[in-house]
């Protein structure tokens, strides 16, 4: 089959419309997947039962393990390196998975040298 049209303006307008349309449809699909996610309730359940988070007033929460002290020290040093003081830290608390997962993602994306 030959070209439907050879008018470049028409090709550009139709193509951009289709690209936007398909990606919007994908967005709807993503929302749909999130809505029908059967594992969502299981993941939410422990959250309800979880105890209230530590009060935000404490400047730095004092965790029991010494390894946590090292992590907090490293975070404070990183904050200081960005030009802020340790007093700017309201609290340090461990988020369920997300923060560490994101850190791993950042690292994974930073070490890749090639570009495709």
């Amino acid at each position: 089959m030959g070209a439907v049209t050879t008018n470049p303006w028409l090709i550009a307008i139709i193509n951009m419309t289709i690209v936007f349309g398909v990606l919007i449809a994908l967005g709807v699909l993503m929302s749909l997947i999130q809505v029908v996610d059967p594992t969502k309730k299981k993941a939410d359940a422990p959250k309800v039962a979880a105890p209230a988070p530590a009060p935000a007033a404490a400047p730095v929460a004092a965790p029991a393990a010494s390894s946590n002290d090292e992590i907090i020290a490293a975070i404070a040093a990183a904050v200081a390196a960005l030009g802020c003081s340790a007093d700017d830290i309201a609290y340090v608390r461990r988020l369920p998975n997300t923060g560490w997962t994101n850190a791993a993602r950042v690292e994974a994306n930073s070490v890749r040298k090639e570009c495709f």
Partner: protein, 376 residues
């Protein structure tokens, strides 16, 4: 003595030197410059080195690449679109769709950045390229090497070398090309915006998305089923949790092997006869225009999104909508941190970045459906 001279003359006549032309010498020098840029300057060394070496090999006269052998197998893989889908398999296995699933509106940024494709298409047609050639040149603006090669092989095989080199050269220059355009298209206040942390994405979403995405896009645009299918298959290997061996092979061993073949094969298309002409210069210029337009449109759409959502979106992530995974996202992160050292945009920019990969494949599929491949 006479026999010795005849033997020498025979060796000379059989050697490449006897058929060496000025064009070959120029292209060998181009290959050496590209090698220097890759190894000496570190511009995309994993891709540019084999491309440069392939360029040198292609310009050795009487190299016998037309005869059956490994080089003809590599050429077959390039001209019959074998390697781009295999590269997409590896890209899929290395890609995390989590940021995109957590913030689906960034899909629009990936769509907006495809504007560069059509700006280049318009420019190419105004400069006298046929509609098929213009479509293949335009896709350089998607900053997606495998899709550029895939479309060029189908729509303008005679321009494949120039298009592939332009695409990969500009992709390696993303950190130099994008920042000034990003700054031009965004205000300093907007660049300082700190975006909210993304929500956690469940394993179910990560597994369901590649499957559903493949079915929807392939049914809509069957001509890009190979590209989208392999991209999503690779991602399924990664997310399934029980396919670690396949995921590992896809993103490491297979990816490296196919990269060697694809890049060397691309370099081998850079023979003096097909590369040293006026069209190549135009393609290189149009590629730059496409990149600039794609970056600008992504950043401008990011600004629009920022205004519409009450300042929740940092417009710098819009420029990552041109594919170039993950370099374009890194550029968003770097420019963002120049304005606000406490800002971490990398994961937010990965959303439009992977959306750009899908968007470029959709744009390629749409052009194939509308214009049709060139008859082989």
């Amino acid at each position: 003595m006479e026999a010795f001279i005849v033997a020498l003359a025979s060796v000379w006549a059989d050697s490449g030197f006897s058929a060496l032309t000025g064009g070959h010498v120029i292209m060998i020098i181009v290959g050496l410059i590209l090698l220097y840029m890759a190894i000496g300057k570190g511009f995309e060394p994993l891709l540019l080195s084999p491309i440069a070496f392939g360029c040198i090999l292609a310009n050795i006269p009487k190299n016998g690449f037309d005869a059956p052998g490994v080089m003809s197998v590599i050429a077959y893989g390039i001209h019959h679109e074998v390697f781009p889908p295999l590269i997409f398999l590896g890209v899929g296995a290395m890609t995390d769709f989590g940021p995109l699933l957590a913030n689906p509106k960034t899909l629009l940024l990936g769509a907006a950045a495809q504007g560069g494709v059509f700006v280049a298409l318009l420019g190419a047609m105004l400069l006298g390229f046929s509609v098929q050639e213009a479509a293949a040149i335009g896709i350089i603006g998607g900053a997606d090497g495998p899709t550029s090669i895939y479309l060029a092989a189908k729509m303008a095989p005679q321009l494949l070398g120039a298009i592939a080199v332009a695409a990969y050269s500009y992709m390696s220059l993303v950190p130099l090309i994008q920042p000034p355009i990003m700054k031009l298209c965004t205000s300093e206040a907007d660049r300082k915006i700190v975006m909210k942390q993304l929500r956690p994405v469940s394993r179910f979403e990560k597994i369901a998305f590649p499957i559903m995405c493949t079915i929807v896009i392939s049914l809509l645009l069957p001509s890009v089923t190979a590209l989208i299918g392999m991209l999503m298959l690779g991602n399924l290997f990664k997310e399934a949790g029980c396919l670690d061996r396949l995921s590992d092979t896809s993103q490491n061993a297979l990816m490296n092997i196919v990269t060697i073949m694809l890049a060397t094969g691309t370099g081998c298309t850079m023979s003096a006869e097909s590369f040293l002409n006026y069209q190549t210069i135009l393609i290189i210029c149009l590629g730059l225009v496409a990149f600039i337009a794609g970056t600008a449109m992504g950043a401008m759409f990011g600004t629009l999104m920022c205004k519409l959502d009450g300042g929740q979106t940092n417009p710098l992530i819009g420029s990552a909508g041109v594919s170039a995974v993950p370099m374009a996202a890194r550029v968003s992160q770097k420019v963002g941190q120049q304005c606000n050292p406490a800002n971490f945009l990398l994961m937010h920019a990965m959303g439009p970045n992977v959306a750009g990969v899908i968007g470029t494949a959709v744009a390629a599929g749409t052009m194939l459906a509308m214009i049709g491949p060139v008859a082989k």
